[in-house]
Amino acid sequence: MSELQPFVITAAPLDPVPLVQFVLTPSDGAVVTFAGVARDNFGGRPTAFLSYEAYAEMAIGVLEQLADEARTRWPIGRVAVHHRVGRLEIGETAVLVVVAAPHRQAAFAAAEYIMDRIKEVAPIWKQEHWADGAVEWRE
């Protein structure tokens, strides 16, 4: 696992298993894994598929910063965030946020915080491809 990068933007499918192995150390009692998944509708309007685009060189640094922000707020261990770009079919994972901590409350709080902040500031954009053929950036 030594070659695993904790903060990654990739066009390849995401796999949580190596991320969980990466974050977990012997003093951790909790690992929270958040998977953001492409779903089949938004507000009831049917979605055909999604595509994601990133300012990848910048986004990796932002993800690192967000993990550091969380670390100043809660006693957590290692963090990994992998975000996918390109076309995603319904049910495919767009983002994984994985946080280990000695205790679960910190792991939950930090994972949710990091995901909220990704949606606020990480330079990663989602394009909705509606089932009716329309295409729209989600802003």
């Binding site: 300012y55 949606k119 500031v121 330079p123 990663i124 954009w125 950036w137 989600r138 802003e139």
Partner: protein, 84 residues
């Protein structure tokens, strides 16, 4: 004069029709002034004023930041939203 590379993403790239522009600027031009210049050149960008984040050399920056030759800048349109 200084040369700055501007990178466009998502809705901005659709408006500008390119993913990057090399622009020649007066020394002392700020990020915010560059945004105003681009909004005049591409009027549909102006709708994003007040809703963007400013980035210089792949880090967030204040719009008052003065640009220097060789900078890479971007104006980050609102990122992938959706309900929490």
């Amino acid at each position: 004069m200084i040369n700055v590379q501007v990178r466009f993403f998502a809705g901005h790239r659709d408006i500008v029709g390119r993913s990057a522009l090399l622009v020649e600027l007066e020394p002392g031009t700020s990020l915010g002034v560059l945004w105003r210049m681009l909004s005049e050149q591409y009027p549909r960008l102006a709708a994003y004023t007040g809703r963007i984040l400013f980035a210089r050399n792949q880090e967030f920056a204040d719009p008052a930041t003065l640009l220097v030759d060789g900078d890479e800048v971007s104006f980050i349109p609102p990122v992938s939203g959706g309900a929490r």
